[in-house]
Symmetry: C2
Subunit: 103 residues, 2 copies
Amino acid sequence: MVVVTAVHVVVMPEHVEAFVAATLDNHRNSVQEPGNLRFDVLRSASQPDRFLLHEVYETQEAADAHKRTAHYLRWREAVAGMMAEPRVGVPYTVLAPLDPADW
Amino acid sequence: MVVVTAVHVVVMPEHVEAFVAATLDNHRNSVQEPGNLRFDVLRSASQPDRFLLHEVYETQEAADAHKRTAHYLRWREAVAGMMAEPRVGVPYTVLAPLDPADW
């Protein structure tokens, strides 16, 4: 079952550039993971210190495995001191599209 | 430039089934629009009356054109009385992936 996690991050203004660099590194590696369907890095159009990581995995196991990768752990460590408030990951189930090939 | 809108909807419990049906109709038609890249219908894993429509268009013009389609207007009319609070659409710009072909 495809699982989606929307991770909301608020970054301190002075760390935005470094946060973007670390997150693009995470993106480049995450999309190579088996079971990864999407790892979109989005920035609020109205509040440029707010970001959304839209992470989609084929299975819960693949989503869990992401948390054990070197690139995730590197990202987590790198951005820990950059956030203005704790990040919030919101899990979703998928109503459409249901075919993993459509992601 | 690819534009993303995350539409957050809270539905009255008694209307959830009808909301899902109307939104899947909107999904099926929206993914056929020229310029539509994604129209994902997601449901909160922990709060089943909360939904997220993750809408991605190739350009702002294509996103605007969506609001003038018969299926959007039908959906808007159908769900107007089903929501527990006004829906919130949050616009995002894309940092990755930058190639529309990767959506």
